[in-house]
Amino acid sequence: MVNAILPEGEMARRFPRDLSSVREIFALIDDFTSAHNLLPAFKESVRLAVDEVFANMVRHNPSGSGDILVSLSHEGKRVVIRMVDKGGIPYDLTTHPLPDLSVPLENRKVGGLGVYFSRTVMDEVHYEHTDNAGIVTFVKNLET
């Protein structure tokens, strides 16, 4: 149910708050990548960042309410991806401590990689909590 009144170059859809939605989110990302003739590397980065944040919203924001909105907008030489999670408690992934990847694997803690991935594969990551909604905004610069 892509919204027909969205601005040109934008795709958006609401997804049920369930991990099984990830497959449909990937389909949206694939559609956007194809529609804008973007490189596979773009799709791979966006899949990783959005999957990780969506999983965090589902798992760690149990008091969130309703569906989670994912939108992608082609704006010149960059793509802006927004994820809106209504309700729940604020969680700013931009200030979350990152795992120490210099630690040998046998001493690593499980967890924290998702936030690291999201912040590493995107060119910009922003978070705001406004109108009772947590909003994550990614910016991915397009290769020329």
């Binding site: 991990l19 099984s20 939605s21 990830v22 497959r23 990937f26 596979p40 791979e44 899949r47 990783l48 999957d51 990780e52 969506f54 999983a55 589902v58 990847l101 210099s102 040998p104 694997l105 046998e106 690593r108 499980v110 967890g111 990689l113 998702g114 690291y116 991935f117 590493t120 594969v121």
Partner: protein, 94 residues
């Protein structure tokens, strides 16, 4: 679509998309692995941090008893994720 199976020769084969929703499926198989094994990523298109968490837990559990795991045939996209997570330090990525 995601699938995982093990063969008698100790090879664990994964295919499809190992996203957050499929981690438990992978985890249930890896928890049954008790000896050194080869993990074939030839047909794996994607792996999330949840999937890497399963690999890490398996590696730590097996290494405590002198066993190990080795990843082979990873596609470029999956290999990039493994390298990003610094899983190249101890895992053999061919």
């Amino acid at each position: 679509m995601f699938s995982i199976d093990t063969s008698e020769d100790g090879i664990v084969r994964l295919s499809g998309i190992l996203d957050s929703s499929q981690a438990e499926t992978a985890g249930s198989v890896f928890r049954s692995v008790t000896k050194s094994c080869v993990i074939d990523f030839r047909d794996l298109e994607y792996i999330s941090s949840a999937g890497l968490g399963i690999l890490l837990a398996t590696y730590k559990r097996l290494s405590s008893s002198g066993q190990t795991i080795k990843i082979v045939n990873a596609k470029e996209a999956v290999k990039n994720i493994l390298l990003l997570a610094r899983f190249d330090i101890l895992l053999e990525i061919e």
